[in-house]
């Protein structure tokens, strides 16, 4: 007890003067003794400078923030938390520089129901990004780039852009709950139909396109007044649950004469159940978009605080398909935070049949490239840090509807960079697959991976490096 400090003990010397006790020989005047850094930097792990400025922003704006790009949540694992363990003594590698490794990828052929399953030369395609979020030139460049390497693109929720249809050899048509510009002709000109029930960047919430990007052309395609802040619905207008969805899927098959596969795209939330339901409802392809997934514009809170990481969603989705006997019948596509071929290879090894990329493809087009510094500065950002797609003032012409800015998006050059990125990523996948002794990228398996963190092992069931056992809860999963 502090009261007892005044004990009977007496120093064998004169008591120190108070100013010496207070470090008068050099301490900062007026500051009590303490850990100096706590004065300079603070120490609250909750009230970080970011948290404080977020509260300041909310208090000034009276609304939540909206932005583009992808999640800034620091707790999300990265694909770097996994590493490959190539063939050594127990397995035989293939010759990385010589032997063949198959990359052909078929989407939607598993049920044997549709006349034209989608055949891709590579296991990677370009995610649904709407015309509206992206400029027409960006969409066209993505189409040509994907076509050059036998890949595909998707319309996104803004309807079918003629430039993209012409450029893209294989084009999936997205039906969002708002059904912008949907008509029979467009459905029949598509190579696949995608019913979107959510996306990784904002599961449980509909599309968002701020007024700056609702140009005359965009507003016509979406039947909206020009310049409105388009906040779309999330519930589909004419079906609610899985049983209705099954009927809806049959309708779409009938409307397109059983020619093209039906995709269901969802944000990763409860993939173990959601994927099983989608497969049961009759989807040919299920697309699971992790919490890292990109967006043209989303409420900041949903970007950072909803959904589960892609790496955790893939094994859960695969388990769901295995459990209901749908593996092989239903194609599983994964997305969310995939940067390079190594990330693709990891996603395939975890159980995806194919992956799609959004933000990565935009970077090939020029997103965040070090040019037009002044225009990045005008947005309060710089190349490498830009996440301002929502403003429509994209310095490189990718995510804008401003005709002047769009001129910076050179279609032939952008297309070639997209083609090269997809080629390089595919080379990376095959290099890893061959090192692991696989003659097809689709033979990559969880055993080819090891986890470098407990989290990654717990999220995926992949064995921990060295100890060679998955992080184990010691209990059976219930339900």
């Amino acid at each position: 007890m502090a009261d007892d400090i005044e004990g009977p003990y007496e120093y064998p010397f004169e008591e120190a003067p108070e100013d010496l006790v207070q470090f008068s020989d050099g301490a900062i005047e007026g500051r009590p003794a303490g850990v100096p850094s706590s004065y300079d930097q603070g120490g609250s792990t909750r009230w970080t400078p970011e948290a404080i400025s977020e509260v300041h922003a909310l208090a000034q704006l009276g609304r939540y923030q909206v932005r583009g790009y992808n999640s800034f949540n620091k707790q999300l694992p990265t694909w770097d938390d996994l590493t490959f363990v190539p063939a050594t003594m127990t397995r035989l590698p293939l010759e990385g520089y010589r032997e063949k490794c198959d990359t052909k990828t078929v989407l939607g052929g598993g049920r044997g129901l549709v006349e034209n399953p989608i055949e891709l030369d590579i296991p990677i395609y370009i995610a649904s990004m709407s015309f509206g979020a992206l400029s027409a030139s960006a969409k066209e460049a993505l189409g040509h780039g994907a076509s050059k390497v036998g890949s595909m693109t998707c319309t996104g929720e803004g309807g079918m852009l003629e430039e993209e249809r012409a450029a893209s050899n294989r084009l999936v048509y997205q039906m969002s709950p708002a059904r912008y510009g949907l008509d029979l002709d467009h459905l029949r000109r598509a190579d696949g139909l995608e019913l979107v029930v959510g996306q990784g960047a904002k599961p449980g919430t509909g599309g968002l396109l701020l007024g700056m990007k609702v140009s005359e052309r965009v507003s016509k395609m979406r039947t909206l007044p020009e310049g409105v802040d388009q906040r779309s619905t999330i519930r589909h207008p004419d079906w609610l649950g899985a049983d209705d969805l099954a009927v809806k899927i049959e309708e779409l098959r009938i409307a397109t004469n059983y020619k093209v596969p039906i995709f269901i795209k969802m944000g990763a939330t409860r993939p173990r159940y959601d994927v099983a339901v989608a497969a049961k409802a009759g989807a040919d392809v299920v697309v699971v978009d992790g919490a890292e997934g990109g967006t043209g514009a989303s409420p900041e809170l949903l970007l950072n605080h909803t959904g589960i990481p892609c790496m955790s969603a893939i094994p859960a989705a695969r388990e769901a398909l295995d459990e209901c006997g749908m593996s092989g019948k239903v194609t599983l596509v994964a997305a969310g935070g995939i940067r390079t071929g190594t990330d693709v290879a990891k996603a395939l090894a975890l159980g995806a049949d194919a992956v799609m990329i959004g933000n990565g493809a935009m970077m090939a087009l020029g997103c965040n490239s070090p040019r037009y510094y002044d225009d990045y500065a005008a947005l309060g950002t710089s190349p490498g840090a830009c996440h301002h797609c929502h403003t429509g003032m994209c310095p490189v012409g990718v995510a804008t509807q401003d005709p002047e800015l769009e001129k910076r998006m050179n279609v032939p050059a952008g297309a070639e960079r997209v083609a090269r990125l997809l080629t390089a990523m595919t080379m990376e996948v095959t290099a890893l697959a061959k090192a692991c002794g696989k003659s097809s990228v689709h033979n990559l398996e969880p055993e080819d991976l090891r986890a470098l963190s407990f989290e990654a092992s717990a999220f995926t069931g992949v064995k921990m490096a060295g100890i060679d056992r998955p992080f184990d809860w010691g209990t059976e999963r219930k339900g």
Partner: protein
Amino acid sequence: MSDVVIDVGKRPVREVHEEIQAAAQAGKSITVTNTLSRHNLGVGLPAGCSIRFEGSVGYYCGGLNNGAIIDIERNAGWGCGEAMASGHITVGGYAGMSVGAAMLGGTIHVKGDSGPRAGVAMKGGNIIVEGKIGYQSGFMAHGGKIIALGGAGPSCADALWEGEVWVTGDIEDLGVDAVVTEPTAEQVAEVDAILDPLGLKDTSRDWRRIVAGQRLWYFESRDAKAWLMI
């Protein structure tokens, strides 16, 4: 009289559809019998096709209609005429949820009541309901008109874009951002012109025309600078 009679019963809908399409391509007028409220009958039919469904139909009858004249004798399930681009659908009885969802053009005429969310997300065309429209009818309608002659359920005309909901009779309550306006004589004449060919014109009606208050059109600011905070 119809040229072709197609029986549904328990046959696969795909097979029925192929027969309907073939008859439609051949320009025949079609009667479909024994419909048993089956789903997905008469989907994606072309212009020039004239088809009558005896009895009731299930979900999405006349869905993605591309110009056909469709006559349903009794009731229709969910999503009747959804995403129709053009054509004319008559429902002799009641229409279930989301009649005319996301339709782009053409006319749907329901002689009885319609279920919830009639004309949800519709982009154009007209839905005429002789009875009452169910709750949240007109939800986020982008364009076109819903015309109800027998009143409206709760949350009527919720969150409209440029669609309009016209009601005579009682409205249980209005949806978010719904504004009731007094129509001009010109506007009434437009609606009468839609009703006239259906034999429903009546100049003594007391109309309420409901449009968007436009409070939901703008989230916050139309100025890009306001969105540069982070």
